[in-house]
């Protein structure tokens, strides 16, 4: 059963130089207990997805249309009081940068206890006990002393553990981890990923892991969404995405991983620059960098098709292959719209 269902979500930033469509029609759902990875380069809309779900977008960002359903409740358009009850309690987030996400002028105890008291009806004493218990759970050594300390007294890895403790202190159904280890060193990154995986299994927590590191998703996720230019270009299980990528962008990403290339071979980069969100191409947003772009790619966005159960992709190359194999037929744009409207 899907615990979170997002349909045709559109989020834009209304900047002085024009509307930036950070999310341009995003749909996905996640089942209870699953670990979903969202990958893509900077500016592809990964973090905006997280912020949209929790509705913590800073102006001028705003959800334009679409639906976010948590269990059976619609979150788009829900009031601030509804969201307040959801945030932290049902859906929690760990931010990218542990250095700046804790308040420097309050002790760890202050910040943890505040979060716990806000979302549960524990009193001071109980909340403090809970904070202590959480710090122990995330592997902070000497938790009683840590509670009295200020963030500057902790290392990066410790601060990220405190953030995880805070996020999990109210036993959320869904944990969103937005690049949780990008700011950390490899050996510390391994510790934190291990911890998240451990806790995820222990509590059967649904997890959305946002990252640009394909190595991180390979080890942790059940399903992967690949984003480019505010859209999902490909989605599937980990094995489908890694061993049978369909979209040209995903293929390019897989090719550009240095560890997959021999020492004396050249790396195969994706040519060109990331998409300019203020100046989106009319057709497929990856088209200007795609080695196999066709005429239709310039003019129309590709339809999303399922190539195998659970594996969705939006690429004209894939459509073309299927037409050639006789598994699909091309429909003119107007007719396609009509069919969409009917469906």
């Amino acid at each position: 059963m899907s615990i979170l269902k997002i349909k045709d979500l559109r989020t834009s930033f209304f900047t002085p130089s024009g509307e930036v469509k950070a999310l341009d029609g995003m749909s996905f759902s996640i089942n209870k207990g699953e670990v979903l990875g969202i990958v893509g380069e900077s500016g592809s809309g990964k973090s905006v997805t997280a912020y949209s779900i929790l509705q913590i977008l800073a102006p001028p960002g705003e959800i334009v249309s679409g639906s976010i359903k948590y269990k059976d409740r619609e979150l788009v358009g829900a009031g601030e009081d509804v969201m307040q009850a959801i945030r932290g309690n049902k859906i929690s987030i760990i931010f990218q940068d542990p250095m700046t996400s804790l308040n420097p002028v309050y002790t760890i105890e202050n910040q943890l206890v505040e979060a716990i008291k806000l979302h549960t009806d524990r009193n001071d004493e109980e909340a403090r006990e809970r904070a202590l218990e959480m710090l122990q759970l995330v592997g902070v050594n000497d938790p009683a002393r840590r509670l009295r300390q200020y963030p500057y007294e902790l290392s990066g890895g410790m601060r990220q553990r405190v953030m995880i403790a805070m996020a999990l202190s109210c036993e959320p159904d869904i944990l969103i981890a937005d690049e949780p280890t990008t700011a950390l060193d490899v050996t510390i990154q391994a510790q934190i990923l291990d911890l998240i995986q451990d806790l995820q299994r222990k509590f059967g927590m649904t997890t959305i892991l946002i990252t640009h590191d394909l190595g991180v998703v390979a080890g942790m996720c059940d399903k992967i969404i690949v984003m480019y230019g505010g859209k999902i270009v490909e989605a599937g299980t980990v094995d489908q995405i890694f061993y049978n990528p369909q979209h040209e962008y995903t293929k390019g990403l897989m090719r550009s991983i240095p560890s997959k290339v021999g020492k004396n071979e050249r790396l195969i980069p994706i040519e060109g620059s990331p998409v300019d969100l203020l100046n989106m191409p009319r057709g497929c947003s990856f088209c200007p960098r795609c080695p196999n772009a066709m005429k239709v790619c310039l003019e129309r966005e590709a339809d999303t098709i399922e190539t195998e159960p659970g594996h969705r992709v939006s690429c004209w190359m894939v459509v073309k292959e299927m037409v050639e194999k006789g598994e699909a037929a091309l429909v003119p744009e107007e007719e396609a719209k009509e069919i969409d409207n009917r469906g």
């Binding site: 380069e41 900077s42 290392s155 890895g157 410790m158 060193d185 490899v186 050996t187 510390i188 990154q189 391994a190 510790q191 990923l193 291990d194 640009h212 590191d213 394909l214 190595g215 991180v216 390979a218 080890g219 980990v238 094995d239 890694f242 061993y243 390019g252 990403l253 897989m254 550009s256 991983i257 240095p258 560890s259 997959k260 290339v261 020492k263 050249r266 790396l267 195969i268 980069p269 994706i270 040519e271 620059s273 990331p274």
Partner: protein, 329 residues
């Protein structure tokens, strides 16, 4: 001293660093200062046309090594030799700086937003007065931009109009302006997206082949370092703990720190990722103000013994070209 020997040495080592120490005084209270030993007794060499990779976690001193080698800091102790000649203050330093350059980590903050791209690339030429006419300067800038894959029409634009990858190309063009033989690359691709990283790495390799450059390539991503380097040195808390040819180091790591560093890197292959066992190091990197006695890694080392607390082991050659500083070897 015969010149023949000297000539030979010159060819062997382009740059040699001997027992380099870089301490920074840090105030820890009223009137009390202690030394932060950022780099402590580090020696290495780089041959002509070679790439030496320098890896380690943040705070291990790898950036300080890069900066001290270029004499952006005055070393506390130790020698830096370029083409066999020691670099001191004065004329030898000025000469050295004409042959060495640096590419910084963050292409967003290492370029002046108020200067045009042409002026940024041309600045080293201005400083060292390497042109006679304005036309000469402009044609040199155009050539440099062409070399790094930028259109020379963009010379009049400002930095904010460029993406991260393009900005790093500008930084590289600026580094190449003096026709250097040696470039320190300090995490040149860490701030870039994966798809762009590969473009820049390929360019570094092409330029090396074309211009015979030598690199000191500093990074924390071992896969990238392995790809570009001939040899790799691993640093931990100011000391080099292991050096070897890059293939040897990746396939046969000896120091427990290198072993755990390698096992901590996420592998981008789901089946391998599920199958392998990782060594998770406990604890954090100790503060460089308070380095453990003896081997600095002993507090996190799964194989530490009592003897490790007494003395820092020397770098020993255990196999041809493979040096490791650990009591186990």
């Amino acid at each position: 001293m015969t010149t023949a020997v000297k000539e030979h040495e010159k060819e062997e080592y382009l740059l040699e660093v001997v027992n380099l120490k870089q301490y920074f005084p840090v105030r820890v209270g009223f009137l009390k200062t202690v030394d932060l030993k950022a780099v402590d007794d580090v020696s290495f060499y780089i041959k002509k046309g070679e790439t030496l990779g320098l890896v380690g976690e943040s705070g291990c001193g790898k950036t300080t090594v890069g900066r001290t080698v270029l004499r952006l800091y005055k070393p506390t102790a130790g020698k830096i030799l370029f083409r066999g000649k020691e670099i001191n203050d004065g004329e030898s330093l000025k000469q050295f700086r004409r042959h060495a350059a640096m590419v910084f980590q963050d292409p967003y903050s290492s370029l002046n937003p108020r200067m045009t791209v042409g002026d940024i690339i041309g600045e080293p030429l201005d400083v060292h007065k390497l042109y006679r006419t304005k036309e000469e300067r402009e044609s040199r800038i155009a050539k440099l931009m062409d070399l790094v894959g930028l259109s020379s029409e963009h010379a009049t634009r400002y930095v904010h109009e460029f993406s991260g990858g393009q900005r790093q190309r500008i930084c590289i063009a600026r580094a190449l302006a003096m026709n250097p033989e040696f470039i320190v690359c300090d995490e040149p691709v860490s701030a870039l997206d994966v798809s762009i990283q590969a473009q820049i790495i390929n360019m570094f390799e092409d330029l090396q082949k074309k211009l015979g450059l030598s690199y000191l390539f500093i990074a924390h991503d071992l896969h990238i370092v392995e790809h570009i380097s001939d040899r790799i040195a691993v640093m931990y808390l100011g000391k080099i703990v292991e050096t070897a040819e890059s293939g040897e180091l990746m396939n046969n790591p000896l120091h427990p720190y290198t072993v755990s560093l390698l096992s901590a890197i996420p592998v981008a292959d789901p089946k391998k990722a599920r199958a392998r066992k990782r060594i998770i190091l406990s604890g954090d990197v100790p503060s460089p103000l308070n380095i453990p006695s003896g081997c600095p890694f002993r507090t996190r080392c799964p194989k530490a013994r009592a003897i490790c607390a007494e003395k820092m082991p020397e770098l020993k050659e255990v196999k041809k070209g493979h040096f490791v500083a650990c009591v186990l070897h």
